[in-house]
Amino acid sequence: MNNSQKLWWQQAKSDFDIFELMLEQGVADCHKLHYLQMATEKLAKAFLWKLEAAPAKSHVGFVKFLKLLVGSAPKSERERLAQLFSFPNFVSLQSWIKYSICPITYDLERITPDLANDGPNPEYPWPHINPVETPVNHRFAVWKSLQQSKGRELMRFVGTAIDRFPEFATL
């Protein structure tokens, strides 16, 4: 792992720790979503830094990370990667990412203020010109999905990916 990867990974870890604390404390959904989104974005950037070039300065990245993780892993490392995430084989990991969690990860990525199209986002009241709603009072559809079993699986996956990042950082 190069130094840039290490720095982004450390920040992702810290964001995810805060997310877990907030989850346990039952704070407003917007704050939990905000930290989970940030942790996943930074995890993605930590991985993308393996190319030794700065990733695009944007909030998107987690979906790309998932695609790259299973798309770019060398054949010789695929089964080890699956085992890291407790999948019986690489094909299971690949199809779980593609069919089970991709819709939620896409929605999670799109809640950032610059991608939310002046609508529900976890940070600022909206619409910008004439606010009628604020994050702390809003019921986020993506949070509802995250509380269901696929969402819980995704949360566990993110936790594992952050904990075990050094083991696949350079794949």
């Binding site: 346990e24 404390q25 039952g26 407790s86 299971s92 079993s149 699986e153 566990r156």
Partner: protein, 109 residues
């Protein structure tokens, strides 16, 4: 409602019903009250759509709910596959530390 009137068992039943009605993969839910705190609800959810996993360590997710209100509590959800549930029942697979199947309440989809 006073602080003392928080009804853990009714709340557990409400969660179980809600989860069974909204999550298509869940086939049954076990509410595990033994050894849990007064404001702690432990649900073990058997899910036929969950990805098969090899690792044995089972990890519940802790959702804090209604912080600062008289209904404040923690909801712990443990997701398992039907195969893992069979192994738990036979004693081959361990529940998380402190969890017990004693006096469980079963809810079916």
């Amino acid at each position: 409602m006073s602080i003392a009137s928080f009804d853990r068992d009714s709340m557990a039943k409400w969660y179980a019903t809600e989860h069974l009605n909204t999550d298509p993969g869940i086939v049954k839910i076990y509410y595990l009250p033994t050894n849990s705190g007064d404001r702690e609800i432990r649900l073990l959810e058997v899910n036929k759509l969950m990805a098969e996993r090899t690792e044995d360590a089972l990890e519940p997710i802790d959702f804090g709910v209604d912080r600062g209100q008289h209904t404040e509590h923690h909801l712990f959800v443990l997701d398992v596959t039907p195969e893992q549930w069979e192994r738990i029942e036979s004693g081959e697979l361990q529940l998380p530390s402190g969890w017990s199947l004693k006096n469980y309440v079963e809810y079916l989809g």
